[in-house]
């Protein structure tokens, strides 16, 4: 019978319970959807890595004979296998395009079937010896609408070569591809191609029988750092450029970061949402137990034990948990596949080996719900244990009749109507209820502002800041190797379409401080330059220093340095290690760099004046005209690795945003739903426990609006404090989230503009107003006789 009582109690207050279920469902959808998508990505990654022997380490050299590579495995303990490859970035010759299109050619030694970093054909056929045939990466092929059998012309050092496309392949090192110094894929302009090693030797005769890239796997139990140290010594004579672990390989890093980010989101959002649901259930049950004191007394009088009565009230939360948990788990499992599809079709070329619907997820999701809501339910209903039957059947002791602090402000209370005075008196008498209302509004406001801020400020800023504020030029000429600075600038500046040229020196360095070390790119910038801007948090330009370094925040955090500290800087470009003072630490949302004045950098390097790229501003700013001119003049130059157009890169970013935005723009919807659910429930808890009081006022002759004004006055008064409390809470929440989500590749800015704040406040106020319309409807519908007849 108590089950029937439970279900009918819930039906009579279905609005509040439904809102709780909505919150639980939301929390579970996030949890299940993201957890399964993570599992799908992880599974795809692991399968590909295992299948194609993904290497543990990578090294780049100037060149060495391919036959010398195998000896290294015998000479260096810890290396299980080492393969040499030829890796070369070339430009695609496309007369219809003004933009530079890059293809990273990676060799495959077909004579060695057990080679590292092999490939899985997804379309077409595999590679064959004897000709320049290639397998392309998935996204490049789709973006450029290339088909099997097509011929591509590539340019290298001024020479044109032809490649035949055999098909499309996946490989562990090309799961995520993006141009150097960028973090977003640009498949229309950057891709990878796998070619037979011998074919590549034919294409690049100066590298015949040689390799410039090595990949190696470690023996079980081997220590990578020891291996790296020995390998460094062995490879120095071959012009070693860099050695790095798999963890620093861009593709692996991005996949791992994506998985980690989704794991964080799959924990963070559900924890927040389920906590809010749990808090609401806690309060709902506290109120229910209070309202049903007499019924509890009767049950105990009849002989129901404490355990049976407690279980009955606990069941309220367990029913909600079960309903929300089941529905949320099912919806979450359904959402996982489309989410996985978006990730793997748009960003990560992974095999779609989905885990499928598993009872284990369902059990975990449901178990999580039952645990959280069960705990909240127990805490909310444990008061039944303390109620003796006789005591339960008496009304509770009346609250203190002393004036509260607001009532003592006579000037204030003299301005109030009777309803206003009632409201003020109630605020003091029901402190718990008032605190609950303030918490509800603060939580609601926090949800709305934080989700709007993420969707419309933080994420877009992070995405576009680098291109809209930092790097502002029409074109960037990337040089194959450092060239003398002044002659290069003069050469490009001669064109009438070019109005300004600025050099940039990009030097790979290792920066260390005590036991912390990071490998980054140090950028040398001209003091009076305006096309690459170092900006502070207020977007004020900071001049590149000539007597120290400016570090990005993430870099400074990793090194554990602050302005005033001195760091050691070393580089293959420097003759010796140098000590430089950290002068400033500034935000950088994309990547992790150090900066100094270009002449000062040249002095340290001791290589004379040089530039690795040139930033160009045209006379027709914002158009592609300058890019076209530069491509015509330098597109086939053997000194030019490529020419990037700012406008094209921005268009690519907008495309990325259009996909990412689908997911990100759900955040405010979630925030609004949460906000409304919280306020609706808090309003109805308050309304239901005061129905007798409100009915009495109606009997006296007050209209529904006059009666409701007692509650609305209280709510708006409390809303003021709730909204004030919500504002610092938002900042704390966003800072915590940004800190968790930050990586070496990107950092999420914490931005809460005044108009987002205002939007959040207005939406919360709207939610309060809408909830009050529902409350007005309920007041109008009060059965006065029924309410006044009952003793509860």
């Amino acid at each position: 019978m108590l089950w029937k009582k439970l279900l009918r109690d819930m039906l009579s207050n279905k609005g509040s319970y439904l809102s709780c279920i909505v919150l639980i469902v939301l929390g579970l959808v996030f949890y299940m959807g993201l957890t399964i998508a993570v599992e799908n990505m992880f599974r795809g990654k692991e399968i590909l890595y295992e299948e194609q022997n993904f290497a543990h380490g990578f090294a780049r050299v100037e060149s060495m004979l391919e036959r010398d590579v195998a000896d290294l495995a015998d000479e260096i303990q810890g290396i299980e296998r080492i393969d040499g490859r030829l890796v070369q970035e070339v430009r695609l010759h496309d007369e219809d395009s003004d933009e530079s299109i890059y293809l990273n050619l990676i060799s495959q030694n077909l004579a060695d079937p057990g080679r590292l970093n092999s490939y899985r054909v997804t379309q077409g056929e595999g590679l064959v010896e004897g000709s320049a045939n290639a397998l392309l990466d998935t996204y490049f092929t789709e973006a450029r609408q290339i088909e099997q059998g097509d011929t591509l012309e590539v340019i290298h050092k001024g020479q044109l070569e032809e490649i035949t496309v055999n098909g499309v392949a996946m490989s562990p090192e090309i799961i995520y591809l993006c141009p150097e110094s960028q973090i977003y894929p640009n498949p229309e302009q950057y891709g990878a191609a796998l070619l037979p090693l011998k074919a590549m030797w034919n294409m690049f005769p100066d590298m015949q029988s040689k390799v410039n890239d090595l990949v190696f796997s470690l023996s079980p139990g081997a220590d990578y750092h020891q291996v790296e140290e020995k390998l460094e010594q062995e490879l120095e004579p071959y012009g070693l450029k860099e050695i790095y672990h798999r963890d620093d390989h861009l593709s692996h890093f991005m996949v791992s970061e994506q998985i980690e980010m989704m794991e964080i989101m799959g924990t963070f959002f559900p924890v927040v949402i389920l906590s809010v649901a749990g808090a609401i259930i806690l309060v709902l049950l506290i109120r229910t137990v209070e309202q049903q004191r007499t019924q509890i007394g009767i049950l105990k009088a009849m002989g129901y034990s404490n355990r049976e009565v407690l279980l009955h009230y606990l069941s309220y939360s367990l029913v909600l948990a079960a309903a929300g948990g089941i529905l949320g788990s099912v919806l979450g499992m359904m959402a996982a596949e489309p989410l996985s599809d978006i990730l793997m079709e748009e960003f990560f070329a992974l095999p779609q080996e989905y885990v499928g619907i598993s009872p284990a997820y369902f059990i975990v999701g449901l178990g999580l719900c039952l645990a959280v809501m069960g705990t909240a339910g127990y805490l909310g209903s444990r008061k039944v244990l303390k109620l003796f039957p006789a005591e339960a059947m008496q009304p509770p002791a009346p609250p203190s009749m002393k004036e509260n602090i607001l009532e003592r402000i006579k000037f204030f209370t003299s301005m109030l109507t009777v309803q206003g005075k009632m409201a003020v008196r109630n605020l003091g008498r029901s402190r718990g209820r008032s605190a609950f209302m303030v918490f509800g509004i603060a939580a609601s406001c926090t949800m709305v502002i934080s989700t709007f801020s993420l969707a419309y400020e933080s994420v877009p800023t992070f995405l576009f800041h680098q291109h809209d504020e930092v790097e502002i030029y029409d074109a960037k000429i990337n040089l194959v190797e450092p060239l003398p600075r002044e002659p290069s600038v003069r050469e490009v500046a001669t064109h009438p379409e070019v109005s300004r040229v600025e050099p940039v020196a990009e030097v790979p360095v290792g920066i260390s401080y005590r036991w912390h070390e990071e490998e980054v790119e140090l950028l040398g910038l001209p003091r009076k330059g305006r096309m690459y801007n170092i900006l502070d948090t207020d977007l004020n330009r900071v001049l590149p220093p000539d007597n120290g370094l400016v570090l990005s925040e993430r870099l400074a955090e990793n090194l554990n340095v602050a302005p005033g500290d001195t760091v050691e800087v070393e580089s293959p470009f420097f003759h010796e290690e140098v000590h430089l003072e950290v002068l400033k630490v500034l935000p950088q949302y994309s990547g992790m760099n150090a900066y100094m004045e270009i002449s000062a950098l040249e002095e340290i390097a001791g290589q004379g004046s040089f530039a690795t790229s040139l930033l160009v501003e045209g006379d027709d700013i914002g158009s592609k005209k300058t890019l076209a001119v530069l491509n015509d003049n330098y597109g086939k130059s053997e000194n030019v690795a490529g020419i990037d157009g700012w406008l094209t890169m921005r268009e690519e970013l907008l495309e990325v945003w259009s996909t990412m935005g689908i997911i990100v723009r759900t955040f405010p919807v979630v925030g609004l739903l949460l906000s409304f659910a919280i306020i609706y429930i808090t309003s109805f808890i308050i309304l239901s426990e005061r129905s007798r009081e409100l009915a009495s006022m109606r009997v006296l002759g007050m209209t529904s609006r006059e009666v409701l004004s007692v509650i609305t006055f209280e709510q708006w008064f409390l809303a003021f404090f709730g909204l004030l409390a919500g504002i610092p809470l938002v900042r704390l929440l966003l800072i915590a989230f940004a800190r968790e989500a930050a990586t070496d590749m990107y950092t999420l800015p914490v931005e809460i503009s005044s108009h987002i704040m205002l939007t959040g406040v207005l939406f919360t106020a709207l939610a309060i107003w809408v909830a009050q319309r529902f409350a007005l409807y309920k007041v109008r519908k009060l059965d006065l006789v029924e309410v006044l007849k009952s003793r509860e």
């Binding site: 108590l2 009767i298 009849m302 034990s305 006789a390 059947m393």
Partner: protein, 235 residues
């Protein structure tokens, strides 16, 4: 010689009601016997409800001794008192206190579910004259009908002791008499001990014994040599 069912010795009870201390019982001595109808009489605040709550295991005395058969209730723990209420006591209240979200039938069944030796619900409904109202909710029943459901619910557990706190307090005279008749009939036909708490002296005339409480003490106890039948009672 009637068998003693309940024995109360020097029962005292103190309450803290907000900021006020209340001495509800100041040392009550009395007994209840098998198969008798007892009226506990007294004005409002005399301690009669408190006494019945203690006898019914709903509350514990601050001092004194209480026995049901040979079972000590004043030293009983929560579990023992629950078991006592479950199997030995049925309660009827002035304002019925039915579960608003359960039908008449379901309210009675609530008792049946926890009883080891329950009475039949349909029979009880018939005996209280509500066999065609079993599927009605309390809000669909009159005051008298609700009280009859409450009586059926209390009896469904087949308790030895029935405690009724102002059972006619919210009812008109004819309905009240109906309820009193039911209580009398159950006392006689089912051999129950029925205790009625009331401030209404006229009801005491139908009792086998009357216990008069004043200011938390038993002022007097008397036997009615010729108790009236409920139909003859009037107020």
């Amino acid at each position: 010689m009637p068998k003693e069912l309940v024995k109360a010795k020097n029962i005292k009870k103190r309450y803290q009601m907000g900021e006020v201390k209340v001495y509800a019982l100041r040392g009550v001595d009395f007994s209840l016997y098998n198969k008798e109808l007892v009226v506990v009489l007294g004005h409002s605040g005399s301690g009669k409800s408190t006494l019945v709550n203690i006898v019914g295991g709903m509350d514990k005395p601050s001092e004194g001794e209480l026995y049901f058969s040979d079972q000590s209730l004043h030293e009983a723990g929560e579990a023992e008192l629950t078991s006592y209420r479950r199997s030995e006591v049925g309660f009827i209240f002035q304002f019925y206190n039915l579960m608003p979200n359960l039908t008449a039938y379901e309210n009675i069944n609530l008792s049946v579910q926890i009883s080891n030796d329950p009475l039949d619900v349909d029979e009880l409904l018939e005996q209280v004259g509500l066999n065609d109202r079993g599927d009605h909710f309390p809000s669909q029943l009159s005051g008298g009908e609700q009280q009859r459901v409450a009586i059926a619910r209390a009896l469904a557990k087949n308790p030895r002791l029935l405690l009724c706190d102002e059972p006619t307090g919210a009812l008109d005279l004819p309905t009240g008499k109906q309820v009193l008749k039911l209580l009398r009939d159950f006392c006689i036909n089912y051999n129950k001990t029925v205790v009625i708490i009331t401030h209404n002296t006229n009801i005491s005339y139908m009792a086998d014994r009357v216990v008069y409480l004043k200011d938390g003490l038993v002022e007097w106890i008397k036997e009615n040599e010729a108790p009236l039948i409920p139909e003859e009672v009037s107020w």
